[in-house]
Amino acid sequence: MKLAQGAPGAKILAFGHYQPANVVTNDDLAKTMDTSDEWIQSRVGIAERRLASPDETEVDLAVHAGGKAVAASGLSSADIDLVLVATCTMESQIPNAAGRVASRLGIHAPGAFDVNAACAGFCYALSAAADAVRSGSAQNVLVVGTEKFSHWLDWNDRSTAVIFADGAGAVVVGPSDVPRIGPVVWGSDGDKSDAIIVKDRNSFLHQEGQTVFRWATTALHPVAKDACDRAGIDPAELAAFVPHQANLRIIESIARKIGADNAVIARDIVLAGNTSAASIPMALSRMIERGEVPSGGLALLLGFGAGLTFAAQVVELP
C-alpha cells in the first residue's frame, strides 16, 4: 500500500464572513421578555445580534461566507477538493450542509462532510482541514462555521434567547512550505453533556449557565497555553487571541490568564452575539477587515462548548 504525498504544512489563505441583515438590539428583546439592555450587557456583554429570516437557512449563511473566502483566496472553485462545515444547528440532519454548500459555490464533487463539535466545531474542522492537506488527502479545503440558532431557541427563555445568534464565517486552507497552522489541542468532557443540550427534535436549547461559566473560566486557559507550547510560541508573541465568543466575561477571564499581553482580544460578541461554530472565523474575518491584526501575525484560536468539547490552535494570519 502507498500513502499520498502531502504538503509540509498548511496555511489559511483567506477569510470570509456573513451576518444576516436583521439586527436585534437588547431593547428589542426587552419588549417581549423580562430582560434589559443593562442586564444583558453586564452579564453577557452583547449589545446587539443578527438573526436570519425564517426562509434563510444555515446553508444560505454558509454559502455567503464561503463564497467570500474563496474569492479572497485567489483560488477558483475548481481548486477546492474538500468542503467541511462546522455546525450544530441544522434544522434537518439529512443531507449534510457541506455537499449543498459546495454545490451552490460551484465546487464540483469535493469531499464534503459536516463537523459537530458545537462551539468548538470550527477549530476541530480547521484541524481536520490542515491534516488533510498535510497528508495529501486534499489540496485546498473550504472550512465554514455556520449557525442558525434562532430556530432552536425558546423566545421566552431569557437565559438563552439573549445570548445565541445567527451567522457564518469561513476560511480556505491550502498547502504551505512551512507550518502556518499549529498543532491542535483538543478534548472533551462527556460527564457534563447535560450542561448545554437540545434534548430532542421538539426541544429548545437549554444551558446550565453557572456550570458552563465555571468550566470555561477554570478549565480552558491551560488548553490555550498548551496550544501555544505545542506550536513553540510564547503567548507574548501573539497578535490576536480569538476565543469562541460565548460571553464577554469568559473571554476577558481567559485572556487575563494566558499572558497574551500584546494581542488584540476578539470581542466580536458585542455586535454578533454567540454564534457557536461561526464565532471564531467571523470574529477574525471582521478583525482583518477592520485592519486590527497584521498579515503574518499569529492568532490563538480557542473553541469550547456543548459536549463539552474544546479545541485550540495557533494560526498565522493571511
Binding site: S42, R43, E208, G209, Q210, T211, F213, R214, T217, T218, N247, R249, S253
Partner: protein
Amino acid sequence: MAITEQAILDGLGKIINEITGIPASEVTPEKNFVDDLDIDSLSMVEIAVAAQDEFDVEIPDDQLKNLKTVKDVITFIQG
C-alpha cells in the same frame, strides 16, 4: 484548629473586593449577595472558585443557590 469565622470573613471580603470591586468592609455576615451587594450569579461562581482555592473546600454549583448570605458561605466553609 478550625479556621475562625473572622478569618473566613476577612478572606471572603478580599475575594469579593477583587472580583466585584465592592469594598471588603461592606462584606459583613448578614449581607445578602443579591439584594444587599448586587452580586450576580456569574460573579457568585467566580467567588466560589476563588473561595475553593483559598479555603480548600469544594463549593459545587448546586450548592451555590443555597448560599444567599455571607454568613451562609462562612457556615458552609466551616462545614
